[in-house]
Amino acid sequence: MRSFEDDPRLAELLPDERQQQLLHLLQALSGHTLQLDEQPRPGAEAVEFNLETLGWLSCPSQPQLQAAAARLLEFVLFYVGKYRLAANLHHDASEASFEELQRQHAALQASEARYKALSAQLQRRVEEQVKVIERTQQQLYESARLRAVGQLAAGVAHEINNPVGFIASNLRVAGDYLNELGEKLPSDHATALILEDFRALLQESEVGTQRIAAIVTDLKTFANIDQEDFVPCDLNALIASTCHLLRAESNQALDIELKLAELPELAGYPAKISQALYNVLDNAAKAITGQGRIRVTSRLGEQGAVEVLVEDNGCGITAEDQARLFDPFFTTRPVGSGTGLGLTVARDIMVAHQGEILVRSKPGAGTRVTLRFLSL
């Protein structure tokens, strides 16, 4: 590449046409023909620019004119060259600046792209962290709530237990008194009718009291939240009490069929297993919406695993929803009626008992949930 300062050739400073114009002017002034060549010619005068000989000027008819004409030509070339040098330098410098700008621009773009990617990555991480925080908060809130509910239930059960005890005892004593009264009263027909009715009332009250006592027992099992270590659990009993509780909570009658096989005792947290059973059963109850049937089976499965099957013939779960069943806060229920934690909690409980939870469902046909406690 030519640099701005490379010595120019004659034609680069003065194109042929301009050279001829200049020679014509010199001829008009001097009256003699002049000739300008790039190659040396005998007797000709050198025309220099910056010490560089650019051409040879000759005037064969009047050689003594040559020197002055050559200086005049050099004078013209000096100013042409001055402009040309400045213009070339300006061109070189502008081009270099432009290239530098382009380099910087490219570097800036690359850096901008890096920062954009970094920013997007940071944004993603912030979003992920926010999700984790939200989830943890919700879980904390849920567990605190469940704990509060459990404590309340335990307190209520404890408070109800005493009055129920003396009511039951009083009812029995009242029955005995009624028998004694019956012997002392006149044995006419009207009195006999009153006594019979009285006895029926007392019996009904006793049955009611027993039911209250049973619910209280279930509540105590369910709310047994402070137990630290695994204890031997009677799984069938837990199933029965959970079913009672569900029935008591549900407003309509539930058709629950129990098929309980004889099982060995299971080491675990009774309250938590009840919770898992409750969550699964609650889903089944909501799936059948009061019209279908629920069947709960307990059995000894392969390799000594204890299994509890909860089957319903309710609405079933779509394949799409099945994929997200265990996602925390995934719920298909209307806002406010489901936390989306039921199966998540159930799965966590099963994992804590070295067990697993399996769900098979066919939309419109029903769902089967298997809780399997692996034998240790």
Partner: protein, 222 residues
Amino acid sequence: MADYQPHTRKLSLKVVYYGPALSGKTTNLMQLHTLLRPQRKGELMVLETRDDRTLFFDVLPIGLRGAAGLDLRLKLYTVPGQVQHDSTRKAVLSRADGVIFVADSQPAQQDNNANAFDNLADNLQKLGMDIERLPLVVQFNKRDVADAVAEAELQARWAQTPWAPLSMASALHGQGVVESFRQLLVHLYPQLDREYRLAETEGIDATSFVRLLSAAQGDADA
């Protein structure tokens, strides 16, 4: 970088006057044009603008013809000192064979000197040139101003650099200008001699190299 064309026997060299704005680079060149009586001397080309500030460069071509026919040319350039003309400065500096750094002796200008010297080092590096190996003379100009920084102080400050001793000048009065130029020629000759065997094949030894290019008005052997 010297440019040698074997078919014309032409060796072109380039010396650049560098330095902060208004330190007297163009004045140096104008004085050289007046004072020097080199073997060959071309026209001084000054491309000044309306306010006499250099916008592009100034150039003074000088030359000598060796005994064996070598056509040695030396173009002396100045760069624009103003900060904003850096790309022009870099273009002029490219392929320089030697640099004369013209610093300003006024106390207030010492920061500008340092900045300009950094800029020189920076641009040399960008152009792929090694400042340690480049023939470089540092001239402190304007010795005539009343409050000029003392020479002893300047010499002490630069004593540990490869560019000591400094050259002192008062370009406006033509003092030190030719001496600075000669100092550079002395630095320049060994490199040229190594590459082009000036003494051996061209019959140009160090003394005649300096004398033929920097003979001054009033010198005995001019």
